[in-house]
Amino acid sequence: MRFLLLLLLAATPAMAQRDTLTIGITQYPSTLHPNIENMAAKSYVLGFARRPLTAHDADWALVCMLCETLPTLQNGLARLETTPDGRPGIRITMRLREGLRWGDGTPISAEDLRFAWEAGRDPATGFGPAEMYRSMYELIVVDARTVEIRRDRVTFDFASMGDFQPLPAHVERAIWQADPRAYRTRTLYDREPTNPALWSGPYRVTQVQAGQGITLERNPMWSGATPHFRSIRVRTVENTTALEAQLLAGQVDMIAGELGLPVEQAAALERRTQGRFRVEYRPGLIYEHITPNLDNPALADRRVRQALLMAVDRQRIVDQLFGGRQTVAHSNVNPLDRMADPGVHRWPFDAARAAALLEEAGWRAGPDGIRRNAAGDRLSLDLMTTAGNRSREQVQQVLAAQWRAVGVETRIRNEPPRVFFGETLRQRRNQGLSLFAWISAPESVPRSTMHSEEIPTAARNWSGQNGGGFRNAEVDELLERLPITLEAEARRPLWARLQAIYAQELPALPLWFRQDAHVWPMWLEGVRPTGHLNASSLWAEHWRAR
C-alpha cells in the first residue's frame, strides 16, 4: 500500500501544451469516408481534414468552402434550362478555388468531382442517399478547375452541394473501378486513413485508434489560413460522467458541443468550476418533439393533441431541468431560422383549458381519475423514447405527471435506440406518443416528416419519416411548392402558412429546440458553434490559443 502511494505521488500531471488541443466527444466516427454513412462524429472529425464544396456557416448562411463563387441565377453561374426529356432543369457551374491541393500535393481538380459523381451514381458503390446523384444527370468537365452540373430538379437550394464533394481520384479511382461493390470496404479512407492524399482541409489524419480517438496534424499543403494548433486530438468517451471527469482531470481541453455534455450537466459544471472553463450555449436545429400516432382514434382528434400540449408546462421544464437553456418551440421551424414566423400561435400552459378541451372531445373524468370516452375506453397512451437517454427519460416522467394531472394516463415504455429508431418508430408500431428529435439544416423543407407520401409503409420498405401518419392536402401542396419557389420572399408566405397549420394541427407536439453546450478552456478563442449539421470544425483554421 505504501508502495502504491509513492507511485501516486511520483506521478505529476503534465503541463498543458498550447500547440495541441485535445477535444472530447461522445461518439466514435464509424467510417471516415465522406460519402458512406452519415453521423455527427464523422462530420465533426472530417470538418478538420476535408472540405466540402459548400456549407452553412455559423450565421446559417450558405457559403463557399472549396468553390470560388456561390452559383446564383443573378451571377449567371446557375441557368434555368430544359432537360433533354423536356422537364425543367438547371445548369450549375462550380469552379474550384485556385491553389487547392490534396495533402500529398496533387491539385484538387474537376476530375476529383467527376470521380465522386461517377461513384455516387453507381448503385453498387454503397453510398448512402442516391437521390442527389440521380438528379445530377450530367456532369461536364469544362477545365481543370470547373465543372458544369445539370440537374433535373430545380429547387431554391440548388447551390447547396451537401454531400457532393471532390474525392481524391488519383488514389481512389483505381480501387473503385476494380470492384465498385467492394469499394465500401477497400477505400483508403478506412484502410489507410493516414494517407495524406485523402485530405483537403487544414489538418490531416495522422493516427487512428478504433473506438478511442483520432489524431490530426497540420496539413502542409493547405492553402488557406495557417491553423494555430500543431495537432488536434479527438477523443471518444461515451459516458458523459467519465467525459466530465477527463475534462476536470485535464486530459481533454474542451468538450465539443456538437457531441458533448447534456446542457444541464454543462450548466452544473459551469457553476461548480467558476472561471476554469467557458461554456457557450448555442441554440441549434435539434428539434425535440412528441410524435403522436394519428391512427390512434384518441390522438386523431386535434382537440386531444392541443389539450396534451396545453397540459404541459414547457417553459417550467426548460427552466428547472435545463437551467432555461433550451428554446421552447411553437412549430418545427426554429425561431432563429430566416423563415420563422414570429406571429405563429403559441399554446400557453393552461391545465384548465386543456381539461375543458378534453371534455369537449368527449373524454370525461372516470372513477380512477383517468378520463374515459362514451364507449368507456380509458384515455391511456404509450409514451416511448430511447432507453438510456437520461435527459429524455427525465422529461418523460415530468410529462407523465403533468398529463396525469388532467386525467390522461401515459405508460412509459422505452427501448434501446437501435430498436426504437430501427424498428418501432419506422414501422409505426407505437400506437401512442413518441418522444425524440429531428435535426435539420437551415431552411430545410420538412417534406420527409410531413408529406402524406412519406408515411412509412411496408410497400415503401418503411422509408419516409412521417411516422405519425399526418395527412393534410394543403400541407402536401405547400411542401411541393416550397422547394421549387426560387425567390426567398415568395417562399416566406408559404412558410408562414405551413407554420400556422403546424401550430393548429400539431402533427407533432413541439417541445423545444436543443442548445449545444460547448465547453472550452479559458485560453481557447475563435471557435464559432453553428448549431446545425455543419460542425464548427469546418472553420478550425481560425481557432487560437491565447
Binding site: E37, P123, P129, E131, G211, P416, R418, Q465
Partner: protein
Amino acid sequence: MIAARLAQIAITTVALSFIFFMLIGLMPGDPIDLAIAGDPRLTAEDAARLRALHGLDQPLLSRYFAWAAAVLSGNPGFSRLFAQPVAALIGPALLSTLTLLGFALGIAVVLGTALGVLAALRPRAAPAVQTLALLAQSVPGFWLGIMLIVVFAVWLGWLPAGGAEGGWRALILPVATLAFANLAGYARHAASAMAGALHDPWIRSARARGASESRIAWRHAFPNAAVPVITLIGLDAGALVSGAVITEALFARPGMGKLIFDAIMGNDSNLALLALLVVAVVTMLGSLGADLAQRALDPRIR
C-alpha cells in the same frame, strides 16, 4: 486429458457460434433500418439496394453458413461500426483487456491470499480481513470505479480519469476497481484453506519436531492453501471478463468488453460475433490453464 478438454472447448465454440449468430440475427432492427431512420434522404430503393449489398436479404441460416465458411477461410469480415476488418480490431483490444485482467488478477490473488494467510496466522486480524472481504464482494463495481475517479482523478488530480494514454498511470484506477471486486474470494479461500492446513496432523508433528512457526506456515501449510486459490482462478475467469466490460466502459479503455458492448449496441454483427467467440475461447482456455496448474500442484488430483 488435455486433448479431451480441447476437443470439448472446440465443440462448445462451434455450438456457441451458432447460438450467438442466431441471437444476434434475431435482434430487432438491422443496420439498414438504423441508417434509414437517421437519414431522411434514403429512399425505399436505397434501402433495398443497401440491404442486398450487405447480404441482409438472405435467410438467417444461409447467412450463418456463409459467415462460418468465411471465418474458417480466415476472413471474418468487416466491422460496420469501425469500418475496418474485424480481425484488425480484435488483436489490440484483446491485448489491452488481457493487460488489464492480468494486473487485476495478479493483484487480487497476491493481495487476497496475503490477507487470507494473515487472517489465518493472526486470529486478531481475522475480523478486519473478513469485513474487508465482505465489503469487496458487496460493492457494485461501477460505483467503486466512479468513486475512485472522483477522488483520485478529479479531486486530487493524481491519475488520469480514463482513456488509454498515459501508459501505466492510466491502468492504475481500472486495475484497482477490478482487483478489489475479485479480492474477496481469494482472501476467504486462502484463509479457510490455511486455517485447515495448520490443523493437519502432519503439521502438528512438524511442530512437535521443533520446526519454526514461519517455516511451518510457509513451507508446509501454504502450498496446501494455494490449491483452492488456483481452483478459484479457473472458476473466476468468466467473472473477471464480465468485470472488464464495466471497467472498460467506465474508464473509456479500449478492450474486448467495450468492443462487444459497442458492437451489440451499434448492430455490428460481424464484430460482435467474433469478439464474443474470442472472449469465450480465451476464458475457457484460462480455466483449462488453471485446472492444469492445480493438477500440477495438488498431488491428490492425478
